[in-house]
Protein backbone atom coordinates (compact mmCIF):
# COMPACT_ATOMS: atom_id res chain seq x y z
CA UNK A 1 0.00 0.00 0.00
CA UNK A 2 1.30 3.45 -0.93
CA UNK A 3 0.61 6.48 1.21
CA UNK A 4 -1.52 9.31 -0.14
CA UNK A 5 0.83 11.81 1.56
CA UNK A 6 3.62 10.72 -0.82
CA UNK A 7 1.48 11.81 -3.78
CA UNK A 8 1.24 15.38 -2.46
CA UNK A 9 3.54 17.72 -4.36
CA UNK A 10 3.87 15.38 -7.35
CA UNK A 11 2.98 16.49 -10.87
CA UNK A 12 -0.63 15.55 -11.67
CA UNK A 13 -1.07 13.87 -15.07
CA UNK A 14 -4.64 13.27 -16.10
CA UNK A 15 -6.63 10.89 -18.28
CA UNK A 16 -9.97 12.55 -19.02
CA UNK A 17 -12.96 10.31 -19.72
CA UNK A 18 -16.16 12.12 -20.68
CA UNK A 19 -16.71 15.89 -20.79
CA UNK A 20 -14.09 17.34 -23.21
CA UNK A 21 -14.08 20.83 -21.64
CA UNK A 22 -12.53 19.40 -18.46
CA UNK A 23 -9.50 18.40 -20.56
CA UNK A 24 -9.48 21.77 -22.37
CA UNK A 25 -9.35 23.58 -18.99
CA UNK A 26 -6.39 21.45 -17.92
CA UNK A 27 -4.57 22.02 -21.23
CA UNK A 28 -4.96 25.78 -20.78
CA UNK A 29 -3.08 25.43 -17.48
CA UNK A 30 -0.33 23.37 -19.11
CA UNK A 31 -1.32 20.28 -17.15
CA UNK A 32 -0.42 17.06 -18.94
CA UNK A 33 -3.76 15.57 -19.93
CA UNK A 34 -5.01 13.14 -22.49
CA UNK A 35 -8.64 13.27 -23.50
CA UNK A 36 -10.27 10.10 -24.72
CA UNK A 37 -12.99 9.91 -27.32
CA UNK A 38 -14.70 7.61 -24.81
CA UNK A 39 -17.66 5.46 -25.82
CA UNK A 40 -19.54 2.72 -23.98
CA UNK A 41 -17.46 -0.49 -23.97
CA UNK A 42 -18.53 -3.49 -26.06
CA UNK A 43 -20.68 -1.24 -28.25
CA UNK A 44 -22.96 -0.59 -25.29
CA UNK A 45 -23.86 -4.26 -24.94
CA UNK A 46 -23.73 -4.83 -21.19
CA UNK A 47 -23.75 -8.65 -21.36
CA UNK A 48 -20.70 -8.68 -23.62
CA UNK A 49 -19.06 -6.03 -21.45
CA UNK A 50 -19.57 -8.19 -18.33
CA UNK A 51 -18.04 -11.19 -20.12
CA UNK A 52 -15.06 -9.13 -21.31
CA UNK A 53 -14.53 -7.84 -17.76
CA UNK A 54 -14.53 -11.43 -16.48
CA UNK A 55 -11.90 -12.42 -19.05
CA UNK A 56 -9.80 -9.38 -18.15
CA UNK A 57 -10.03 -10.14 -14.42
CA UNK A 58 -8.96 -13.67 -15.11
CA UNK A 59 -6.03 -12.46 -17.25
CA UNK A 60 -4.96 -10.09 -14.47
CA UNK A 61 -5.08 -12.92 -11.92
CA UNK A 62 -2.95 -15.12 -14.20
CA UNK A 63 -0.46 -12.26 -14.72
CA UNK A 64 -0.32 -11.60 -10.96
CA UNK A 65 0.20 -15.30 -10.22
CA UNK A 66 3.01 -15.53 -12.82
CA UNK A 67 4.60 -12.40 -11.38
CA UNK A 68 4.49 -13.89 -7.88
CA UNK A 69 6.46 -16.98 -8.95
Amino acid sequence: MSNLKDFFGKKVKVINLGIPSFADDLKRQNVEVIHTDWRPPAGGNKKIQALLDKVENWQNKVKAAKGAK
Binding site: D6, F8, V14, I15, L17, Q49, N60
Partner: protein, 507 residues
Protein backbone atom coordinates in the same frame (compact mmCIF):
# COMPACT_ATOMS: atom_id res chain seq x y z
CA UNK B 1 -45.86 20.61 -35.87
CA UNK B 2 -43.71 17.95 -37.52
CA UNK B 3 -40.93 15.75 -36.17
CA UNK B 4 -37.80 15.29 -38.27
CA UNK B 5 -34.96 13.08 -37.20
CA UNK B 6 -31.50 11.89 -38.10
CA UNK B 7 -29.62 8.88 -36.72
CA UNK B 8 -25.83 8.78 -36.78
CA UNK B 9 -24.72 5.23 -36.04
CA UNK B 10 -21.53 4.59 -34.07
CA UNK B 11 -21.10 8.30 -33.36
CA UNK B 12 -20.54 9.05 -29.69
CA UNK B 13 -20.56 12.43 -27.96
CA UNK B 14 -20.65 13.13 -24.23
CA UNK B 15 -24.01 14.12 -22.79
CA UNK B 16 -23.02 17.66 -21.76
CA UNK B 17 -21.93 18.58 -25.30
CA UNK B 18 -25.18 17.15 -26.70
CA UNK B 19 -27.44 18.77 -24.11
CA UNK B 20 -25.85 22.18 -24.70
CA UNK B 21 -26.32 21.87 -28.47
CA UNK B 22 -29.92 20.69 -27.97
CA UNK B 23 -30.57 23.65 -25.70
CA UNK B 24 -29.13 26.14 -28.23
CA UNK B 25 -31.07 24.68 -31.17
CA UNK B 26 -34.32 24.74 -29.17
CA UNK B 27 -34.04 28.55 -29.11
CA UNK B 28 -34.24 28.80 -32.94
CA UNK B 29 -37.40 30.25 -34.48
CA UNK B 30 -40.10 27.69 -35.21
CA UNK B 31 -38.57 24.96 -33.03
CA UNK B 32 -40.76 23.56 -30.27
CA UNK B 33 -38.44 20.84 -29.00
CA UNK B 34 -35.08 19.28 -29.69
CA UNK B 35 -33.65 16.00 -28.40
CA UNK B 36 -29.99 15.56 -29.25
CA UNK B 37 -28.63 12.55 -27.42
CA UNK B 38 -27.19 9.07 -27.45
CA UNK B 39 -29.69 6.23 -27.66
CA UNK B 40 -29.85 5.65 -23.89
CA UNK B 41 -32.89 4.37 -22.00
CA UNK B 42 -33.43 7.86 -20.59
CA UNK B 43 -33.38 9.56 -24.00
CA UNK B 44 -35.72 6.92 -25.45
CA UNK B 45 -38.16 7.55 -22.56
CA UNK B 46 -37.92 11.31 -23.15
CA UNK B 47 -38.60 10.91 -26.89
CA UNK B 48 -41.68 8.78 -26.13
CA UNK B 49 -42.89 11.24 -23.49
CA UNK B 50 -42.48 14.16 -25.92
CA UNK B 51 -44.23 12.22 -28.68
CA UNK B 52 -41.07 12.37 -30.82
CA UNK B 53 -40.21 8.65 -30.91
CA UNK B 54 -39.69 7.13 -34.38
CA UNK B 55 -39.66 3.43 -35.43
CA UNK B 56 -36.08 3.96 -36.73
CA UNK B 57 -34.92 4.16 -33.10
CA UNK B 58 -36.00 0.56 -32.30
CA UNK B 59 -32.73 -1.15 -33.20
CA UNK B 60 -30.23 1.43 -31.97
CA UNK B 61 -27.53 1.04 -29.29
CA UNK B 62 -26.07 3.54 -26.76
CA UNK B 63 -23.28 4.19 -29.29
CA UNK B 64 -25.73 5.66 -31.81
CA UNK B 65 -26.63 9.34 -31.88
CA UNK B 66 -30.20 10.58 -32.29
CA UNK B 67 -31.13 14.07 -33.46
CA UNK B 68 -34.91 14.61 -33.25
CA UNK B 69 -36.48 18.01 -33.84
CA UNK B 70 -40.10 19.08 -33.46
CA UNK B 71 -40.66 22.18 -35.58
CA UNK B 72 -43.39 24.26 -37.19
CA UNK B 73 -42.76 22.63 -40.59
CA UNK B 74 -40.39 20.15 -42.20
CA UNK B 75 -38.09 22.80 -43.70
CA UNK B 76 -37.56 24.46 -40.30
CA UNK B 77 -36.96 21.14 -38.55
CA UNK B 78 -34.51 19.97 -41.23
CA UNK B 79 -32.63 23.28 -41.01
CA UNK B 80 -32.32 22.76 -37.25
CA UNK B 81 -30.93 19.25 -37.83
CA UNK B 82 -28.36 20.75 -40.22
CA UNK B 83 -27.47 23.30 -37.51
CA UNK B 84 -26.94 20.47 -34.98
CA UNK B 85 -24.66 18.68 -37.44
CA UNK B 86 -22.61 21.84 -38.04
CA UNK B 87 -22.18 22.36 -34.29
CA UNK B 88 -21.22 18.72 -33.77
CA UNK B 89 -18.64 18.87 -36.57
CA UNK B 90 -17.03 21.95 -35.05
CA UNK B 91 -16.93 20.23 -31.62
CA UNK B 92 -15.19 17.20 -33.09
CA UNK B 93 -12.65 19.41 -34.87
CA UNK B 94 -11.79 21.40 -31.73
CA UNK B 95 -11.47 18.37 -29.50
CA UNK B 96 -9.30 16.35 -31.89
CA UNK B 97 -5.63 17.08 -32.18
CA UNK B 98 -3.21 15.75 -34.75
CA UNK B 99 -2.45 12.88 -32.36
CA UNK B 100 -4.62 9.79 -32.59
CA UNK B 101 -7.36 10.16 -29.99
CA UNK B 102 -7.69 7.08 -27.76
CA UNK B 103 -11.18 5.71 -27.24
CA UNK B 104 -10.68 4.11 -23.82
CA UNK B 105 -8.64 4.40 -20.63
CA UNK B 106 -6.17 1.63 -21.49
CA UNK B 107 -5.35 3.20 -24.86
CA UNK B 108 -4.99 6.63 -23.20
CA UNK B 109 -2.59 5.16 -20.64
CA UNK B 110 -0.40 3.92 -23.49
CA UNK B 111 -0.01 7.53 -24.65
CA UNK B 112 0.41 9.08 -21.18
CA UNK B 113 2.21 6.22 -19.50
CA UNK B 114 2.74 7.96 -16.16
CA UNK B 115 -0.82 9.29 -15.82
CA UNK B 116 -1.71 9.29 -12.12
CA UNK B 117 -5.24 10.71 -12.11
CA UNK B 118 -8.36 9.71 -14.02
CA UNK B 119 -11.17 12.26 -14.27
CA UNK B 120 -14.37 10.36 -14.96
CA UNK B 121 -17.52 12.06 -16.26
CA UNK B 122 -19.01 9.22 -18.32
CA UNK B 123 -22.62 8.05 -17.75
CA UNK B 124 -23.03 6.66 -14.22
CA UNK B 125 -23.64 3.08 -15.30
CA UNK B 126 -20.09 2.92 -16.74
CA UNK B 127 -18.31 5.12 -14.18
CA UNK B 128 -17.53 2.50 -11.51
CA UNK B 129 -15.92 0.24 -14.13
CA UNK B 130 -13.59 3.07 -15.21
CA UNK B 131 -12.73 3.93 -11.59
CA UNK B 132 -11.94 0.26 -10.88
CA UNK B 133 -9.64 0.17 -13.94
CA UNK B 134 -7.92 3.34 -12.72
CA UNK B 135 -7.35 2.05 -9.18
CA UNK B 136 -6.10 -1.33 -10.35
CA UNK B 137 -3.56 0.49 -12.54
CA UNK B 138 -2.41 2.58 -9.54
CA UNK B 139 -4.13 5.82 -10.59
CA UNK B 140 -6.22 8.12 -8.39
CA UNK B 141 -9.83 8.57 -9.51
CA UNK B 142 -12.17 11.53 -9.48
CA UNK B 143 -15.75 10.50 -10.21
CA UNK B 144 -17.68 13.52 -11.44
CA UNK B 145 -20.35 11.05 -12.61
CA UNK B 146 -23.41 10.48 -10.48
CA UNK B 147 -25.80 7.51 -10.55
CA UNK B 148 -23.14 5.20 -9.12
CA UNK B 149 -24.64 2.83 -6.53
CA UNK B 150 -23.57 3.09 -2.89
CA UNK B 151 -22.46 -0.56 -3.06
CA UNK B 152 -20.10 0.29 -5.92
CA UNK B 153 -18.90 3.36 -4.02
CA UNK B 154 -18.09 1.20 -0.99
CA UNK B 155 -16.22 -1.32 -3.15
CA UNK B 156 -14.19 1.41 -4.89
CA UNK B 157 -13.35 3.27 -1.68
CA UNK B 158 -12.32 0.04 0.06
CA UNK B 159 -9.97 -0.63 -2.87
CA UNK B 160 -8.75 2.99 -2.80
CA UNK B 161 -7.91 2.86 0.92
CA UNK B 162 -6.16 -0.51 0.42
CA UNK B 163 -3.98 1.03 -2.31
CA UNK B 164 -3.61 4.51 -0.76
CA UNK B 165 -5.36 6.04 -3.78
CA UNK B 166 -7.97 8.78 -3.84
CA UNK B 167 -11.53 7.95 -4.86
CA UNK B 168 -13.11 11.40 -5.05
CA UNK B 169 -16.85 10.96 -5.53
CA UNK B 170 -19.10 9.74 -7.02
CA UNK B 171 -20.90 13.01 -7.75
CA UNK B 172 -17.76 14.95 -6.85
CA UNK B 173 -17.73 18.26 -8.69
CA UNK B 174 -14.70 19.96 -7.19
CA UNK B 175 -11.10 19.16 -6.28
CA UNK B 176 -7.75 20.93 -6.42
CA UNK B 177 -4.94 18.40 -6.17
CA UNK B 178 -1.29 19.48 -6.05
CA UNK B 179 -2.36 22.85 -7.45
CA UNK B 180 -4.37 21.37 -10.32
CA UNK B 181 -8.07 22.34 -10.38
CA UNK B 182 -10.22 19.43 -11.54
CA UNK B 183 -13.77 19.80 -12.97
CA UNK B 184 -15.64 22.72 -11.30
CA UNK B 185 -12.88 24.46 -9.36
CA UNK B 186 -11.59 27.96 -8.94
CA UNK B 187 -8.14 29.40 -9.54
CA UNK B 188 -6.94 29.37 -5.93
CA UNK B 189 -3.40 30.27 -4.88
CA UNK B 190 -1.08 27.81 -3.18
CA UNK B 191 -0.79 28.13 0.59
CA UNK B 192 -0.90 26.09 3.77
CA UNK B 193 -4.60 25.24 4.27
CA UNK B 194 -5.69 21.70 3.37
CA UNK B 195 -9.37 20.96 2.83
CA UNK B 196 -11.53 17.84 2.69
CA UNK B 197 -15.15 18.32 1.71
CA UNK B 198 -18.21 16.26 0.93
CA UNK B 199 -19.73 19.18 -0.96
CA UNK B 200 -18.72 20.66 -4.32
CA UNK B 201 -20.00 24.22 -4.06
CA UNK B 202 -19.17 24.23 -0.34
CA UNK B 203 -15.56 23.54 -1.29
CA UNK B 204 -15.65 26.20 -4.03
CA UNK B 205 -17.09 28.79 -1.64
CA UNK B 206 -14.51 28.12 1.11
CA UNK B 207 -11.45 27.89 -1.19
CA UNK B 208 -12.45 31.02 -3.16
CA UNK B 209 -12.99 32.98 0.06
CA UNK B 210 -9.61 31.81 1.40
CA UNK B 211 -8.01 33.12 -1.83
CA UNK B 212 -9.80 36.47 -1.73
CA UNK B 213 -8.77 36.91 1.92
CA UNK B 214 -5.15 36.60 0.76
CA UNK B 215 -4.36 33.05 1.90
CA UNK B 216 -3.99 29.81 -0.05
CA UNK B 217 -4.37 26.04 -0.03
CA UNK B 218 -2.33 22.86 -0.24
CA UNK B 219 -5.09 20.47 -1.31
CA UNK B 220 -8.87 20.64 -1.76
CA UNK B 221 -10.04 17.05 -1.72
CA UNK B 222 -13.65 16.31 -2.65
CA UNK B 223 -15.03 13.03 -1.34
CA UNK B 224 -18.65 12.97 -2.59
CA UNK B 225 -21.81 13.62 -0.58
CA UNK B 226 -22.22 10.06 0.77
CA UNK B 227 -18.71 9.55 2.16
CA UNK B 228 -19.69 10.24 5.77
CA UNK B 229 -22.77 8.01 5.61
CA UNK B 230 -23.03 4.93 7.81
CA UNK B 231 -22.49 2.65 4.82
CA UNK B 232 -19.30 4.29 3.46
CA UNK B 233 -18.01 5.07 6.95
CA UNK B 234 -16.06 8.19 5.99
CA UNK B 235 -13.39 6.08 4.26
CA UNK B 236 -12.04 8.85 2.00
CA UNK B 237 -12.54 11.68 4.52
CA UNK B 238 -10.50 9.77 7.07
CA UNK B 239 -7.76 8.75 4.61
CA UNK B 240 -7.48 12.27 3.15
CA UNK B 241 -7.52 13.99 6.56
CA UNK B 242 -4.84 11.66 7.93
CA UNK B 243 -2.68 12.41 4.86
CA UNK B 244 -3.12 16.16 5.46
CA UNK B 245 -2.17 15.68 9.13
CA UNK B 246 1.07 14.02 7.99
CA UNK B 247 1.70 16.57 5.22
CA UNK B 248 4.37 19.08 6.34
CA UNK B 249 3.08 21.74 3.91
CA UNK B 250 -0.39 21.75 5.48
CA UNK B 251 -0.62 23.89 8.63
CA UNK B 252 -4.43 24.00 9.03
CA UNK B 253 -7.10 21.50 8.02
CA UNK B 254 -10.69 22.36 7.09
CA UNK B 255 -13.47 19.75 6.97
CA UNK B 256 -16.82 20.57 5.34
CA UNK B 257 -19.72 18.14 5.19
CA UNK B 258 -23.31 17.51 6.12
CA UNK B 259 -23.38 16.12 9.68
CA UNK B 260 -21.87 12.61 9.58
CA UNK B 261 -23.66 9.47 10.76
CA UNK B 262 -23.06 9.12 14.52
CA UNK B 263 -20.77 6.09 14.27
CA UNK B 264 -18.75 7.83 11.55
CA UNK B 265 -18.45 11.00 13.65
CA UNK B 266 -17.01 9.01 16.57
CA UNK B 267 -14.55 7.23 14.27
CA UNK B 268 -13.52 10.45 12.52
CA UNK B 269 -13.01 12.31 15.80
CA UNK B 270 -10.87 9.53 17.24
CA UNK B 271 -8.75 9.42 14.04
CA UNK B 272 -8.05 13.17 14.05
CA UNK B 273 -7.98 13.92 17.79
CA UNK B 274 -4.19 13.69 17.90
CA UNK B 275 -3.70 15.98 14.91
CA UNK B 276 -0.76 18.21 15.69
CA UNK B 277 -2.35 21.08 13.78
CA UNK B 278 -5.58 23.08 14.00
CA UNK B 279 -8.72 21.57 12.43
CA UNK B 280 -11.66 23.80 11.42
CA UNK B 281 -14.89 21.86 11.03
CA UNK B 282 -18.16 22.93 9.44
CA UNK B 283 -20.73 20.17 9.68
CA UNK B 284 -23.58 22.00 7.98
CA UNK B 285 -26.49 22.43 10.37
CA UNK B 286 -24.83 20.55 13.24
CA UNK B 287 -24.40 21.85 16.78
CA UNK B 288 -20.96 23.56 16.97
CA UNK B 289 -20.65 22.58 20.65
CA UNK B 290 -20.10 18.91 19.69
CA UNK B 291 -17.09 19.98 17.61
CA UNK B 292 -15.73 22.45 20.17
CA UNK B 293 -16.05 19.86 22.95
CA UNK B 294 -13.54 17.71 21.02
CA UNK B 295 -11.06 20.60 20.89
CA UNK B 296 -11.61 21.55 17.25
CA UNK B 297 -12.64 24.93 15.82
CA UNK B 298 -16.29 24.98 14.77
CA UNK B 299 -17.24 27.23 11.87
CA UNK B 300 -20.74 28.80 11.78
CA UNK B 301 -21.00 28.84 7.98
CA UNK B 302 -18.89 28.48 4.81
CA UNK B 303 -17.58 32.06 4.95
CA UNK B 304 -16.67 31.61 8.63
CA UNK B 305 -14.82 28.37 7.81
CA UNK B 306 -12.58 30.37 5.44
CA UNK B 307 -12.10 33.23 7.93
CA UNK B 308 -11.20 30.84 10.79
CA UNK B 309 -8.80 28.87 8.58
CA UNK B 310 -7.01 32.05 7.44
CA UNK B 311 -6.65 33.22 11.06
CA UNK B 312 -5.17 29.92 12.15
CA UNK B 313 -2.89 29.62 9.13
CA UNK B 314 -1.20 33.01 9.60
CA UNK B 315 -1.87 33.97 13.22
CA UNK B 316 -3.28 37.28 11.91
CA UNK B 317 -6.76 38.66 12.26
CA UNK B 318 -9.28 38.25 9.42
CA UNK B 319 -12.85 39.47 9.03
CA UNK B 320 -15.46 38.77 6.35
CA UNK B 321 -15.04 40.92 3.23
CA UNK B 322 -18.37 42.70 3.77
CA UNK B 323 -18.91 43.88 7.35
CA UNK B 324 -22.37 43.87 8.93
CA UNK B 325 -22.32 47.70 8.76
CA UNK B 326 -21.65 47.66 5.01
CA UNK B 327 -24.40 45.09 4.45
CA UNK B 328 -26.77 47.21 6.55
CA UNK B 329 -25.95 50.28 4.45
CA UNK B 330 -26.64 48.35 1.26
CA UNK B 331 -29.98 47.18 2.66
CA UNK B 332 -30.91 50.79 3.51
CA UNK B 333 -30.53 51.71 -0.17
CA UNK B 334 -33.22 49.36 -1.47
CA UNK B 335 -36.92 49.93 -1.44
CA UNK B 336 -38.70 46.95 0.07
CA UNK B 337 -42.35 46.08 -0.27
CA UNK B 338 -44.30 43.22 1.23
CA UNK B 339 -43.92 40.04 -0.75
CA UNK B 340 -42.13 36.74 -1.22
CA UNK B 341 -38.46 35.86 -1.43
CA UNK B 342 -37.20 33.50 -4.13
CA UNK B 343 -33.73 31.97 -4.21
CA UNK B 344 -32.55 30.49 -7.51
CA UNK B 345 -29.36 28.57 -6.83
CA UNK B 346 -27.01 26.57 -9.01
CA UNK B 347 -24.98 25.44 -5.98
CA UNK B 348 -26.69 22.87 -3.73
CA UNK B 349 -24.79 23.66 -0.53
CA UNK B 350 -25.32 27.39 -1.01
CA UNK B 351 -29.06 26.69 -1.34
CA UNK B 352 -28.98 24.68 1.93
CA UNK B 353 -27.06 27.45 3.67
CA UNK B 354 -29.58 30.11 2.56
CA UNK B 355 -32.51 28.03 3.83
CA UNK B 356 -30.89 27.56 7.25
CA UNK B 357 -29.98 31.24 7.65
CA UNK B 358 -33.32 32.60 6.42
CA UNK B 359 -35.45 30.45 8.75
CA UNK B 360 -35.17 33.11 11.46
CA UNK B 361 -36.45 35.83 9.12
CA UNK B 362 -39.20 34.07 7.18
CA UNK B 363 -42.09 32.19 8.72
CA UNK B 364 -42.33 29.58 5.98
CA UNK B 365 -39.77 28.49 3.40
CA UNK B 366 -40.38 25.97 0.62
CA UNK B 367 -37.70 24.18 -1.34
CA UNK B 368 -37.19 21.26 -3.72
CA UNK B 369 -34.34 20.26 -1.36
CA UNK B 370 -35.73 21.35 2.04
CA UNK B 371 -33.44 21.37 5.07
CA UNK B 372 -34.87 20.68 8.52
CA UNK B 373 -37.59 23.23 9.29
CA UNK B 374 -38.37 24.01 5.63
CA UNK B 375 -41.17 22.51 3.57
CA UNK B 376 -41.22 20.57 0.29
CA UNK B 377 -42.56 22.46 -2.74
CA UNK B 378 -45.72 20.89 -4.10
CA UNK B 379 -44.67 21.74 -7.66
CA UNK B 380 -40.96 22.42 -8.20
CA UNK B 381 -41.69 24.19 -11.48
CA UNK B 382 -44.06 26.73 -9.91
CA UNK B 383 -43.07 28.73 -6.83
CA UNK B 384 -45.53 29.68 -4.12
CA UNK B 385 -44.68 31.68 -1.00
CA UNK B 386 -41.00 31.96 -0.08
CA UNK B 387 -39.00 29.43 -2.14
CA UNK B 388 -35.29 28.67 -2.08
CA UNK B 389 -34.62 26.38 -5.03
CA UNK B 390 -31.61 24.25 -5.99
CA UNK B 391 -31.76 24.25 -9.79
CA UNK B 392 -28.79 21.87 -9.90
CA UNK B 393 -30.87 19.14 -8.26
CA UNK B 394 -31.50 15.95 -10.26
CA UNK B 395 -35.12 16.86 -10.95
CA UNK B 396 -33.97 19.84 -13.05
CA UNK B 397 -30.90 18.26 -14.65
CA UNK B 398 -32.39 15.11 -16.20
CA UNK B 399 -31.62 15.52 -19.91
CA UNK B 400 -30.29 19.01 -19.25
CA UNK B 401 -26.78 20.21 -18.40
CA UNK B 402 -26.12 21.56 -14.89
CA UNK B 403 -27.10 25.24 -14.42
CA UNK B 404 -23.45 26.17 -13.82
CA UNK B 405 -22.77 25.07 -17.42
CA UNK B 406 -26.05 25.85 -19.17
CA UNK B 407 -27.87 28.97 -17.92
CA UNK B 408 -31.00 28.28 -19.98
CA UNK B 409 -33.24 26.71 -17.29
CA UNK B 410 -32.37 29.31 -14.68
CA UNK B 411 -32.75 32.18 -17.15
CA UNK B 412 -36.29 31.00 -17.92
CA UNK B 413 -37.01 30.60 -14.22
CA UNK B 414 -35.77 34.14 -13.46
CA UNK B 415 -38.16 35.56 -16.08
CA UNK B 416 -40.96 33.47 -14.53
CA UNK B 417 -40.20 34.65 -10.98
CA UNK B 418 -39.90 38.33 -11.95
CA UNK B 419 -43.31 38.17 -13.63
CA UNK B 420 -44.84 36.94 -10.35
CA UNK B 421 -46.26 40.06 -8.68
CA UNK B 422 -46.05 38.45 -5.24
CA UNK B 423 -42.22 38.44 -5.38
CA UNK B 424 -40.27 41.30 -3.81
CA UNK B 425 -36.77 39.82 -3.72
CA UNK B 426 -34.77 37.33 -5.81
CA UNK B 427 -31.44 35.89 -4.66
CA UNK B 428 -29.11 33.91 -6.90
CA UNK B 429 -25.53 32.65 -7.10
CA UNK B 430 -22.97 33.06 -9.86
CA UNK B 431 -20.31 30.35 -9.63
CA UNK B 432 -17.13 31.12 -11.56
CA UNK B 433 -14.11 28.95 -12.27
CA UNK B 434 -13.08 26.08 -14.49
CA UNK B 435 -15.98 24.05 -15.86
CA UNK B 436 -18.49 26.89 -15.39
CA UNK B 437 -20.17 29.01 -18.08
CA UNK B 438 -17.87 31.73 -19.52
CA UNK B 439 -20.32 34.57 -18.77
CA UNK B 440 -22.96 33.56 -16.22
CA UNK B 441 -23.41 37.15 -14.99
CA UNK B 442 -24.12 38.32 -18.55
CA UNK B 443 -26.67 35.53 -19.08
CA UNK B 444 -28.44 36.33 -15.80
CA UNK B 445 -28.55 40.06 -16.57
CA UNK B 446 -30.08 39.32 -19.99
CA UNK B 447 -32.78 37.18 -18.36
CA UNK B 448 -33.45 39.77 -15.64
CA UNK B 449 -33.84 42.58 -18.18
CA UNK B 450 -36.17 40.38 -20.25
CA UNK B 451 -38.28 39.61 -17.16
CA UNK B 452 -38.41 43.26 -16.09
CA UNK B 453 -39.38 44.43 -19.58
CA UNK B 454 -42.06 41.78 -20.07
CA UNK B 455 -43.75 42.24 -16.67
CA UNK B 456 -42.88 45.76 -15.58
CA UNK B 457 -42.01 44.29 -12.15
CA UNK B 458 -38.80 45.23 -10.43
CA UNK B 459 -38.16 43.03 -7.38
CA UNK B 460 -34.94 43.57 -5.42
CA UNK B 461 -32.24 41.45 -7.04
CA UNK B 462 -29.16 40.22 -5.16
CA UNK B 463 -26.34 37.95 -6.32
CA UNK B 464 -23.34 36.34 -4.68
CA UNK B 465 -20.26 35.55 -6.75
CA UNK B 466 -18.32 32.43 -5.84
CA UNK B 467 -14.92 32.87 -7.44
CA UNK B 468 -11.52 34.50 -7.40
CA UNK B 469 -9.83 37.36 -9.23
CA UNK B 470 -7.81 34.73 -11.12
CA UNK B 471 -10.83 32.87 -12.53
CA UNK B 472 -11.04 32.97 -16.32
CA UNK B 473 -14.48 34.65 -16.37
CA UNK B 474 -13.01 37.83 -14.83
CA UNK B 475 -14.22 38.40 -11.29
CA UNK B 476 -14.39 42.23 -11.48
CA UNK B 477 -15.98 42.09 -14.92
CA UNK B 478 -18.74 39.76 -13.67
CA UNK B 479 -19.43 42.03 -10.66
CA UNK B 480 -19.56 45.10 -12.93
CA UNK B 481 -22.10 43.46 -15.28
CA UNK B 482 -24.42 42.66 -12.38
CA UNK B 483 -24.04 46.04 -10.68
CA UNK B 484 -24.70 47.92 -13.94
CA UNK B 485 -28.03 46.08 -14.12
CA UNK B 486 -28.95 47.33 -10.63
CA UNK B 487 -28.23 44.01 -8.89
CA UNK B 488 -26.75 44.08 -5.37
CA UNK B 489 -23.58 41.94 -5.47
CA UNK B 490 -21.95 40.11 -2.54
CA UNK B 491 -18.70 38.16 -2.23
CA UNK B 492 -20.28 35.27 -0.31
CA UNK B 493 -23.64 33.58 0.03
CA UNK B 494 -23.66 34.41 3.76
CA UNK B 495 -23.21 38.14 3.04
CA UNK B 496 -26.06 38.03 0.49
CA UNK B 497 -28.39 36.24 2.89
CA UNK B 498 -27.53 38.70 5.69
CA UNK B 499 -28.50 41.47 3.26
CA UNK B 500 -31.82 39.73 2.62
CA UNK B 501 -32.39 39.43 6.38
CA UNK B 502 -31.71 43.16 6.90
CA UNK B 503 -34.13 44.03 4.08
CA UNK B 504 -36.80 41.76 5.55
CA UNK B 505 -36.40 43.40 8.98
CA UNK B 506 -37.31 46.73 7.35
CA UNK B 507 -40.37 45.40 5.56
Amino acid sequence: MVVSHLVKKQTYFDSVTLMLIGSQVKKLDGIENAVVGMCTDYNIDSLKRLDMYQPDFDSLTPNDLIIAIKGSDEKTAKAAIAEVETRLTSKKKTSESAQLVPTNQEAAAKQLTDANMVLISVPGEYAAREARLALNAGRHAMLFSDNVSIEEELELKTLGVEKGLLVMGPDCGTAIINGVPLAFSNAVRAGNIGLVAASGTGLQEVTSTIHRLGCGITQAIGVGGRDLSEKIGGKMTIMATKALIEDPETKVIVLVSKPPAESVLTKLMSEIKNANKPVVIYFIGADPKVIEAQGFTAARNLEDAAVQACKLSTGKSYVPEFSDTKIDEMAQKVKMTTGNVRGLYSGGTLCDEAQRLLQGSLTEIYSNTPVKGCKTMSDVYKSEGNCIIDLGDDVFTRGKAHPMIDPDNRAQRIVQEISDKSVNMILFDVVLGYGSHPDMAGEMVEAINKGRKASGNKPVMAACICGTQDDMQGYSNQIAKLEEAGIMVFPTNVAMVKFAQKCLERK
